[in-house]
C-alpha cells in the first residue's frame, strides 16, 4: 500500500546523480549486478529435498572401493536464490524476444511458443532412446513426417536426420561424398571452398580428412565460374557452395557449377544455412546439388538457446543416399515404423558410412521444427522466404546511401544485406558502429564476416520483423553511420548503457581465466 499524502509533484531534476552514477550496490535500478554462484552459494546449501526415510547407502556399498574421499567444491543455492540468480543473469542478455537481432547468417527469427509446448509433451520429452520400438512409434513418426517435409521442400532424394547442428551436417555430407568416392575406388583429397565461406566449411573439410583450397569470387560477389572450372580435376572430391551465399546473394550459375563439378567427377555440397531465403521458392534438388544441411535452428526456428542445441539434417541426392549414416527410420506399408541400425543395416542399407551420434539425433528439435512447418504449411513457408527477402532488400535500399553496399549495384539481395565500412573516418570502424547500435537497443549485425568485404556488416532481419521495427533500426543505423563518417569520437565509448562497457578480449586470451578459483574471491572483491 503506497500513497503520496505530501501531494509531491516532480520537477525536472538534475542529472548529476546519473553523471556520477554510483550506487552502494552497483545496481542501476532494474539493471542488476549478479555475483557468481561460487561467491553466493555454499556446499552445504541445497535447493532440493529428499523424502524422509529414503534408503541411504546400505552397509555393503558396491562402489568397488572407489568412494569419494575429497570434496568437489560444488556450491548449492536454495530454489529462491537459484531462480533469482538465473533470472538476474538472463536480464543481462539481449534476445529475439527483446528486439531486432539481425545477425547475418544466423537467421534469428521469432521462436513460436507452441513449439516449446509441444516439445514438452510427456510423450516426446519423457521417452528413452533405447525403448523397444513398439513403444516409440510416435517418436519415429515425428522423425519420418519431418523427413518427408524436408525432402519435399528441397526436392532431394534422401535425408540423414541425426546430425546435431549445421557443422555436423556438413561433416555428414562430406562423409557421404567420401564414402561414395571410395565406393567407386576414387580417392580424391581436395575440397574447394569459396573465400567467402563460413569457417565451418573449411574446418569440416579438414575434419573429414580433406585438403582445402579456396576458390575466388568475382566482383559481383559470386563464385567465379571460370576460375572454378579451371581448378576442377580428378583430385577434387567436392565443392562446397553456400547458396544463397554469405554475401546474401543467390548463385545464378548454381546449375552450371553443379554440372561442371559432376562433369569432373566431383560432388556438390551446398551449405544450407541460408535456406530461409528460398524455402518454398526454389528446390536445391533442381540445381544439381548432392548434399545440403538444413539448420533447423535457423530456417525452422528451433531456439538458438545462446549457442545451441541445434539440428542439422542433411538432404542427399540419389547418388549419395545409399551412403547416408545410421540409424534412420523406415516406414512400413502398414504404417508402422522401424529403426534401421547396425543390426539390420546389412540388408536394408549396406553402404552406410557409419554412425554420427549415440542415438537418433535431436528429437526435441524435430518436434519443434515439425510444429513450425505444419503451422506455416506450403503457403506460409513460401511467404517466409518472400518476407525475409523483402525485409532484407528494404534495409539494403534504405541504407545504401549512407553505408557502402558493395554488391548493391548487382541487383537485389536475398535474405541479408551486406555493407562495408568504406567511408568511415579513419579511426572509426565497424566495431564502433556495432557497439553504438547496442545503446540504441538493437543487437548488432554480423561483423567482419564474410571476410571478402572490408569491415563487413551483414544484416539479416528475417521475416518476423515488422516494418516498424525495420524503420526504427534504419533510423538508428543512419544516425550512427553519419557519426562514423564524421569521425565522432564518442562512438569509441559505446556502449554506455549496457550491463558492461567494452570488454578486454585480448586480456582474456593472454591470461585465460576459464574457471573460478577461490583465490580469485579476494581479487574479485577489490
Amino acid at each position: 500500500m503506497t500513497v503520496n499524502p505530501s501531494g509531491w509533484r516532480p520537477t525536472q531534476p538534475s542529472n548529476d546523480a546519473i553523471a556520477d552514477g554510483h550506487t552502494v550496490t552497483g545496481n542501476r535500478a532494474l539493471m542488476l549486478e549478479e555475483p557468481l554462484i561460487f561467491e553466493i552459494g555454499s556446499t552445504e546449501q541445497t535447493g532440493v529435498d529428499f523424502d524422509h526415510g529414503l534408503p541411504t547407502t546400505p552397509k555393503s556399498s558396491r562402489l568397488g572401493g572407489l568412494e569419494r574421499n575429497r570434496a568437489i567444491g560444488l556450491p548449492g543455492l536454495s530454489e529462491a536464490e537459484a531462480v533469482r540468480h538465473y533470472t538476474r543473469l538472463s536480464r543481462q542478455n539481449y534476445a529475439i524476444d527483446l528486439g531486432l537481432f539481425p545477425l547475418g547468417s544466423c537467421t534469428m527469427k521469432h521462436n513460436p511458443r507452441l513449439n516449446e509446448k509441444v516439445a514438452r509433451f510427456p510423450g516426446f520429452a519423457d521417452v528413452h532412446p533405447l525403448q523397444p520400438q513398439e513403444t516409440v512409434q510416435g517418436a519415429l513418426a515425428v522423425i519420418s513426417e519431418l523427413a518427408v517435409w524436408l525432402l519435399e521442400l528441397t526436392g532431394m532424394y534422401g535425408v540423414a536426420m541425426s546430425p546435431k547442428a549445421g557443422a555436423h551436417g556438413e561433416l555428414c555430407g562430406l562423409l557421404c561424398i567420401r564414402a561414395a568416392l571410395e565406393a567407386r575406388g576414387d580417392a580424391r583429397e581436395v575440397v574447394l571452398v569459396p573465400e567467402s565461406a563460413h569457417g565451418t566449411n573449411p574446418a569440416t573439410a579438414a575434419f573429414a580428412g580433406y585438403r582445402v583450397e579456396n576458390i575466388p569470387a568475382n566482383e559481383a560477389g559470386r563464385v567465379d565460374l571460370d576460375a572454378l572450372k579451371a581448378r576442377l580435376g580428378p583430385d577434387v572430391a567436392a565443392v562446397m557452395i553456400t547458396n544463397p551465399n554469405t554475401c546474401g546473394l543467390f548463385e545464378p550459375d548454381m546449375k552450371a557449377i553443379s554440372d561442371a563439378v559432376h562433369g569432373a567427377g566431383g560432388f556438390v555440397y551446398c551449405d544450407g544455412a541460408n535456406f530461409n531465403a528460398i524455402v518454398g521458392k526454389v528446390r536445391p534438388g533442381d540445381l544439381g546439388i548432392d548434399a545440403m544441411h538444413i539448420n533447423l535452428h535457423k530456417t525452422f526456428s528451433t531456439p538458438h538457446g545462446g549457442g545451441g542445441p541445434g539440428s542439422g539434417p542433411v538432404v542427399l541426392s540419389q547418388a549419395l543416399s545409399p551412403f547416408g549414416p545410421l540409424p534412420f527410420v523406415a516406414r512400413h506399408g502398414d504404417g508402422t515404423f522401424r529403426l534401421v541400425e547396425e543390426e539390420n543395416a546389412s540388408e536394408e542399407h549396406p553402404h552406410a558410412f557409419g554412425r554420427m551420434v549415440a542415438f537418433h539425433g535431436q528429437m526435441g528439435m524435430f518436434t519443434r521444427a515439425l510444429a513450425y512447418i505444419l503451422s506455416h504449411g506450403a503457403d506460409g513457408l513460401k511467404q517466409v522466404a518472400e518476407d525475409a527477402v523483402l525485409n532484407a532488400n528494404y534495409i539494403l535500399r534504405s541504407l545504401e546511401d549512407v553505408l557502402d553496399a558493395p554488391f548493391a549495384k548487382s541487383g537485389p539481395c536475398m535474405h541479408e544485406a551486406l555493407f562495408s565500412d568504406k567511408g568511415f573516418a579513419d579511426d572509426v570502424n565497424t566495431l564502433d558502429l556495432a557497439k553504438a547500435l547496442i545503446d540504441e537497443g538493437f543487437h548488432p549485425m554480423t561483423m567482419y564476416f564474410p571476410l571478402v568485404v572490408h569491415g563487413a556488416m551483414l544484416v539479416e532481419p528475417t521475416e518476423t520483423e515488422s516494418k516498424a521495427s525495420l524503420d526504427q533500426f534504419i533510423a538508428a543505423v543512419r544516425s550512427i553511420a553519419e557519426r562514423a563518417k564524421a569521425g565522432d569520437e564518442s562512438l569509441k565509448a559505446a556502449p554506455v548503457y549496457a550491463p558492461r562497457r567494452r570488454l578486454d578480449e585480448t586480456l582474456a586470451a593472454r591470461k585465460p581465466i576459464l574457471t573460478y578459483r577461490e583465490a580469485q574471491a579476494a581479487q574479485a572483491a577489490e
Partner: protein, 452 residues
C-alpha cells in the same frame, strides 16, 4: 500467418521503396526454370495452432511415457527428477532466444552461466578446465581422441570394451576417414573390466586409452593403474562418464589421473527426449587448453574495470582458424548446459551426494532382489545405479515380454550388440531415485514371469 508481421499493405509499400513491382523480381537471380510458382503442390497449407497441437499430441500418445510405467532403462541416458525451476529458467526468453554470445556487453547472462558451467564440470570431473559444451557424449569422445592425437602426434587409440557401443561406432566411423587406428574389443559378462587388456595394448605408438567410468555394464574400476601405464608410455588417458550423478559418490576420473574427461550431461537437468538434444561435457588439463575444441568463456574486465566474461581463445575455432581449427563445431548445446548448471546449482554438493546415495541404495536393493530370481545372475561386483543381469534366456525377447506386461525393464545387450555370442542374455538395469518400491516390485514380478 500468425508469425508474420508484414501486412499486404506493408508489402506493397516496401516493394515500391525497393523499386520492384512484384516479389519475384527480387528472386530474379534464381533461374526461371528453377523458380517455383505458387506453394509446393501436394503439401498441406498453414494450420491453426489448435490443429497443430492436436496432431502433435496424437503422435505423442503413440509413445510409452517413462513416468507412466515402472522404468529401468539407462545405458547412456538416465531418468532423474528435474526440478520445475530448471525448465522455468531455460524458458526465459533472454536465454532461449539469444545467440552464441558474440557481443559480450549484452550477453553477460549467457557468458557468466558458461563460466559457472565450465567450473562445475571441471570440478565434478576433477580437471582444471572445461569447455562450454559439445553436442553430446559420443561426439565429445571422438573430439577427445582427436585432441589427444594432436597433443601426442600419435594415431593409435586403445578403447576399452566397457565403452558405450554407440560411442565406439561413432569413433570408428570417423577414424575411417582420419586414418586413426582404434583398438577395440567387445565386453564380456564378467565382474572385471578389461583393465588388464588395456594395459597390455599400450605401447609407444599409443596416443590415448579410452575408458568409460562406470562402464556400459555399470562396472566401476580404478583408473589409476591405466593412467600410470599410458603416461609412462607417453600417451594420455581419456575417461568417458555417461552418468555424472555417479560422481557424487565415487572418485572423479581426474583424481585418478585422466588427462581428458568427457561425458554426457543429460542426466543432470536434461530430459530423456528420445536421445536428444543432450549436452557433451569436455574437461582437460590447463596445459592442453589450446588444443581443446569448442567454446570457452573467460573472465576479463570492461572499460570501467568491472569484471565481465567473453568468449576466448577463439583462435582455436573455425570462425578464425578455418581449416586449421581444433574442431568444426560452432553451435553446440548451450541451453542444455544451462539446464545442467541450473540443476547442479540447485543440488549443490550436498544435494548431489544425497541424490547419488539414494540412487545407489535403490540400485543395491533392486540388484539383490532381482539376483534372487531363480536363473538370474548379477554380473557386477561393483556398480552405482546401473548393473547387468545374466538371464537364463535371451534378454531382448524378455524386454518385449515385459513391455507387454507394462514394464520398461531395462536395455538388452542384444539391442546394443546385435548377434554377438555370449551377450544375448545380458540385461542392463538402471535404478534411479525415480523408481518407487512399487516399481521395483513390478520389475521383480514381471521378470520372474518372463524368465520362468
Amino acid at each position: 500467418m500468425r508469425y508474420l508481421p508484414l501486412s499486404d499493405a506493408d508489402r506493397s509499400d516496401m516493394l515500391r521503396l525497393v523499386g520492384a513491382s512484384t516479389i519475384d523480381e527480387l528472386f530474379r537471380d534464381v533461374p526461371g526454370e528453377a523458380r517455383l510458382h505458387g506453394p509446393i503442390a501436394g503439401l498441406p497449407m498453414h494450420a491453426s495452432e489448435m490443429a497443430v497441437e492436436r496432431h502433435m499430441m496424437a503422435l505423442s500418445r503413440r509413445n510409452m511415457v517413462a513416468s507412466d510405467v515402472p522404468f529401468f532403462l539407462g545405458c547412456g541416458a538416465y531418468k532423474h527428477h528435474i526440478p520445475a525451476s530448471v525448465d522455468h529458467i531455460i524458458q526465459r526468453g533472454e536465454f532461449l532466444t539469444s545467440y552464441t554470445p558474440y557481443q559480450p556487453e549484452i550477453a553477460q547472462g549467457t557468458l557468466q552461466m558458461m563460466f559457472e558451467f565450465q567450473t562445475q564440470v571441471a570440478r565434478l570431473f576433477g580437471c582444471e578446465v572445461a569447455n562450454a559444451s559439445m553436442y553430446d557424449g559420443s561426439t565429445a569422445m571422438w573430439e577427445a581422441i582427436l585432441m589427444a592425437h594432436r597433443i601426442t602426434r600419435r594415431k593409435k587409440t586403445v578403447i576399452s570394451s566397457g565403452v558405450h557401443p554407440h560411442y565406439v561406432s561413432v569413433a570408428k566411423t570417423m577414424a575411417k576417414f582420419t586414418e586413426d587406428a582404434l583398438d577395440t574389443a567387445l565386453p564380456e559378462l564378467v565382474a572385471e573390466t578389461d583393465v588388464e587388456r588395456l594395459i597390455g595394448q599400450i605401447d609407444g605408438e599409443t596416443s590415448a586409452v579410452v575408458v568409460q567410468y562406470p562402464d556400459i555394464l555399470g562396472r566401476i574400476a580404478d583408473l589409476a593403474p591405466i593412467a600410470e601405464a599410458v603416461h609412462s608410455a607417453g600417451g594420455l588417458l581419456i575417461a568417458v562418464v555417461t552418468e555424472p550423478v555417479a560422481l557424487g559418490m565415487i572418485r572423479s576420473p581426474g583424481e585418478m589421473g585422466a588427462d581428458i574427461v568427457v561425458g554426457e550431461g543429460q542426466s543432470i537437468g536434461v530430459g530423456l527426449q528420445f536421445g536428444g538434444p543432450y549436452v557433451g561435457l569436455f574437461a582437460c588439463r590447463e596445459k592442453h587448453v589450446r588444443q581443446m575444441p569448442g567454446r570457452l568463456a573467460g573472465e576479463t574486465v570492461d572499460a570501467e574495470g568491472k569484471r565481465g566474461f567473453v568468449l576466448t581463445l577463439s583462435t582455436r575455432e573455425q570462425h578464425i582458424r578455418r581449416e586449421k581449427a581444433t574442431s568444426n563445431i560452432c553451435t553446440s548445446s548451450v541451453l542444455c548446459a544451462l539446464a545442467f548448471t541450473a540443476h547442479l546449482t540447485l543440488l549443490g554438493e550436498e544435494g548431489l551426494r544425497q541424490l547419488a546415495s539414494v540412487n545407489h541404495a535403490r540400485a543395491c536393493e533392486a540388484a539383490e532382489r532381482l539376483a534372487a530370481i531363480p536363473g538370474v545372475e548379477l554380473v557386477n561386483d561393483s556398480f552405482f545405479n546401473e548393473f547387468t543381469l545374466k538371464l537364463p534366456i535371451e534378454a531382448r525377447p524378455a524386454v518385449h515380454a515385459m513391455v507387454e506386461r507394462g514394464v520398461l525393464g531395462g536395455v538388452s545387450l542384444g539391442r546394443l550388440y546385435p548377434g554377438i555370442e555370449g551377450l544375448q542374455n545380458g540385461l542392463v538395469v538402471a535404478v534411479t531415485e525415480t523408481a518407487t518400491n512399487e516399481d521395483i516390485d513390478a520389475l521383480e514380478a514381471k521378470l520372474k514371469e518372463v524368465v520362468r
